[in-house]
């Protein structure tokens, strides 16, 4: 029975992680992180806003360097930092980290968003267990007992089997970036109707690890750049304490001598056609923004190689 469980676990996990489509393509990035395939001089970190806004290939090509977008959907800095730690272990050490920040960066949600993205990497992975243990999601036995974590995850099992049968698997992310061909949807209107406005709550532990990260980069001579990518102008009022949050980033930028590019009031932020919801730009928006951002990066007196 145990052998069967291990066999099934290996079979499903090995095949599942090949999927470029499942869990919004997060496996592609996790695979690159676990298999030493990031190896980039420029790392882009952040949440889904980094993932869908900043085209790493464009940055790499324009700045004549290698770049990788580590943006992770639905996760705040807590999980973003884990991705950075994994990337730092690779053979090519980054020289620049572009930190995409937003008002939610220093929050910490209670649940583990998209838990399926961790499934194929969990068995015996105590480091991942430590990173995820403060979220509601998995418990210790999930990391030790084969197949247990797949309980109730039928879609993941089927995707694993589908991949074993050589199902269709077009790549969705290129160097971690994925432009979204979407037009404006009702996400923002729904959120406004449900909540009216939203107040961000800083998570002290996340604030602490964020500052530690800035200090560590300073020690290792890695240049951190803050970027606040465009946010649809009407959505900016939705966050009650947005100004206070921006103040935190500005103070850090000053304290650690970090260039801070804030596109909140850029003309892009006023153009609904570039967004699919208040926080996320669509592909044309992302391409236009990345182009503008590259021009600003070029002005900085730093080397990206």
């Amino acid at each position: 029975m145990v052998l069967l469980a291990y066999g099934a676990d290996i079979f499903i996990s090995t095949n599942l992680k090949k999927s470029n489509k499942f869990v919004k393509g997060e496996y592609t990035t996790w695979n690159d992180l676990y298999n030493n395939n990031v190896n980039s001089k420029v790392l882009i970190m952040g949440s889904s806003r980094a993932w869908v806004h900043i085209d790493a290939k464009m940055i790499g090509d324009s700045l004549h360097t290698s770049a990788y977008n580590l943006g992770i959907d639905g996760h705040n800095f807590w999980m973003q930092e884990y991705r950075r730690i994994l990337a730092m272990r690779q053979s090519v050490k980054p020289k620049v980290i572009i930190q995409s920040i937003d008002v939610f960066t220093l929050e910490k949600r209670a649940d583990l968003f998209y838990p399926e993205q961790f499934l194929p990497y969990m068995l015996g992975n105590h480091e991942l267990e430590k990173v995820t243990e403060s979220f509601i999601g998995f418990t210790h036995p999930d990391f030790e007992v084969p197949m247990l974590r797949y309980y109730g995850k039928g879609k993941a099992i089927i995707e694993g089997v589908r991949m074993a049968l050589q199902g269709e698997n077009p790549p969705t992310r290129i160097r971690g970036f994925e432009g979204h061909e979407e037009s404006w949807n009702n996400d923002f209107e729904n959120a406004k109707a449900q909540m009216g406005s939203y107040t961000v709550k800083l998570d002290p532990a996340t604030v602490k690890i964020f500052e530690n990260y800035l200090r560590e980069c300073q020690r290792q001579n890695i240049k951190v750049i803050f970027v606040y990518s465009p946010e649809y102008i009407e959505g900016q009022n939705f966050i009650a304490n947005r100004t206070a949050m921006m103040g935190v980033y500005k103070r850090w930028a000053q304290k650690y001598n970090i260039p801070f590019f804030d596109y909140s009031n850029d003309p892009i932020s006023f153009e609904k056609k570039y967004f699919y919801n208040a926080l996320h730009m669509n592909k044309p928006g992302a391409e236009y923004f990345t182009y503008k951002f590259i021009q600003d990066l070029k002005k900085l007196p730093i080397s990206y190689n």
Partner: protein, 478 residues
């Protein structure tokens, strides 16, 4: 300790092994073991309420004897009413005190009198409505001379607190369960296997159907403002399947578990969603409660003996009480009233006993007329569940308002395809097995063994793959 928890998966085999291997030769030992395990099971929820359960048990046990031994009618009545008042008193304090106080304060505020009353900050002891009704039926049966009091405290305590039925029924009768507890039980492998099969089906209903439907239903009922009318329709449809999967799934697990110990509990569900009218629906939904109300409320009120209007009055009363039994909230009372309104025309027209047998008995397909009646009854049931599920009357009316908005013609949002397919498969299996005690009771029994086993393994696999996020059993709160 939930039936679908790891702790229960450990607890059950241990008790089963001790029961059949260690205590097998001695009935007293078996019953004592059942009692200890039942109290342990209950204490896992909240050990403090165990004392309430024991007190309630002792009260009914001793008043039962006192009533039986009473020298005159006056004393018999005294012990009877003492037991009734204390039992209902506990229920009143723990379940209804805050409701009455708040409703009274609300009522006064309508007359311009603002009064604040202190409410109780206590949690509802799990299963109190169920074990109180066990005790009440026992005391009433003795009072009416239907049964003699039980003299063995262990046997009586097992009757009240047998762990499979302790927290959410079925509501048992002394005439049915006590003789089984007193009788020597031999291990019957066929019965045990049947029990396991019923547990398996119960787990499927709870973990796959109810818990998956719950995710969607909760999303809709908690975010009503921002969702379309069509999504609201799907939301309440999913809630209807959630509550059925949850409660009938629980009942299947309870009945199957009891069978592992050689005990048959009362059937609680008989495919209610295939009913052709509301009267039939109520003969098939939460049967042990419906029959309890029939025997201990409807008939004492005069039942059907006093003509049509007495039947109507009594029906109205039992539905209002039944609604109130579910919880201290006006929504439950309105839900009860609505069901009474559904059923009263059939009582007036004397058509309430037209559909006694399961639909399309001996046939695979129902006739178009039967399908029409099933769908109409189901629609009424679903509508009533809007009120049942809503937190307040305002929420219920708001929900109904959303359904009758133009957005009802838009595509419902956020439905997971696999849940829809699972529901379709579930309905088909339930339909195919509707002439049995539970859907898969006889399914595959005549198939070759490997095929039959494959069928059970397939159910297990579906449970493993598609179990929804864990939800509390709904009826535990009642």
């Amino acid at each position: 300790m939930l039936f679908n928890s790891i702790s229960f998966a450990i607890f059950l085999p241990i008790v089963f092994a001790l029961y059949w291997f260690l205590a097998n030769r001695n009935l007293k030992f078996q019953n004592l073991l059942l009692l200890i395990s039942s109290y342990y099971f209950y204490a896992c929820w909240d050990y403090r309420f165990l004392f309430l359960l024991i007190f309630s048990t002792m009260l009914d046990f001793s008043t039962g004897i006192k009533m039986y031994e009473a020298k005159n009618e006056r004393m018999k009545k005294f012990w009877f009413w003492l037991s009734i008042c204390i039992n209902l008193g506990f229920l009143g304090v723990f379940k209804y005190y805050n409701f009455f106080v708040e409703s009274f304060a609300d009522g006064l505020s309508h007359f311009g009198i603002e009064k604040h009353f202190d409410t109780l900050q206590v949690i509802l002891p799990v299963g109190i409505s169920f074990y109180t009704f066990h005790g009440l039926s026992y005391v009433i049966d003795i009072y009416k001379g239907k049964i003699k009091p039980e003299r063995n405290i262990v046997d009586y305590s097992v009757f009240v607190s047998f762990f499979p039925l302790l927290v959410a029924g079925p509501i048992e009768r002394a005439t049915h369960l006590l003789p089984q507890i007193q009788r020597k039980r031999e291990f019957d492998s066929a019965k045990a296997i049947d029990g396991l099969r019923q547990i398996l089906w119960g787990l499927f209903k709870k973990l796959v159907i109810a818990d998956n439907c719950a995710e969607y239903a909760n999303m809709v009922f908690n975010n009503s403002d921002s969702l379309s009318g069509s999504t609201h329709i799907v939301g309440v449809l999913f809630f209807t399947f959630q509550i059925y999967g949850d409660f009938s799934g629980y009942s299947d697990i309870a009945l199957g578990t009891a069978r592992l110990f050689g005990i048959d509990l009362l059937r609680n569900f008989a495919f209610p969603f295939f009913s052709r009218d509301t009267a039939e629906y109520w003969r098939r939904w939460h049967i042990s409660l419906s029959s309890w109300f029939k025997d201990y409320l409807y008939i004492p009120l005069g039942g059907s003996s006093g003509g049509t209007w007495m039947k109507v009055r009594n029906t109205l009363i039992i539905f209002l009480v039944s609604g109130f039994w579910h919880g201290a909230n006006w929504t439950y009372i309105l839900w009860g009233l609505l069901n009474a309104i559904y059923i009263i025309p059939s009582i007036v027209l004397n058509t309430n006993r037209h559909n006694m047998e399961i639909v399309a008995k001996g046939r695979i397909f129902a006739t178009p007329k039967e399908i029409y009646h099933i769908l109409s009854t189901f629609s009424l049931t679903v509508f009533a569940f809007i009120i049942f599920r809503s937190n307040t009357m305002t929420d219920a009316f708001h929900y109904i308002g959303k359904i009758i908005s133009p957005s009802v013609f838009t595509k419902p949002e956020g439905i997971r395809n696999e849940v829809v397919w699972l529901l379709i498969a579930f309905i088909i299996i339930e339909w195919l097995g509707r002439e049995n005690q539970y859907a898969i009771e006889k399914m595959g029994l005549k198939w070759p063994r490997p095929l039959r086993l494959a069928f059970y393994y397939a159910i297990m696999l579906v449970i493993f793959m598609y179990a929804g996020s864990s939800q509390q059993f709904i009826y535990f709160q009642f």
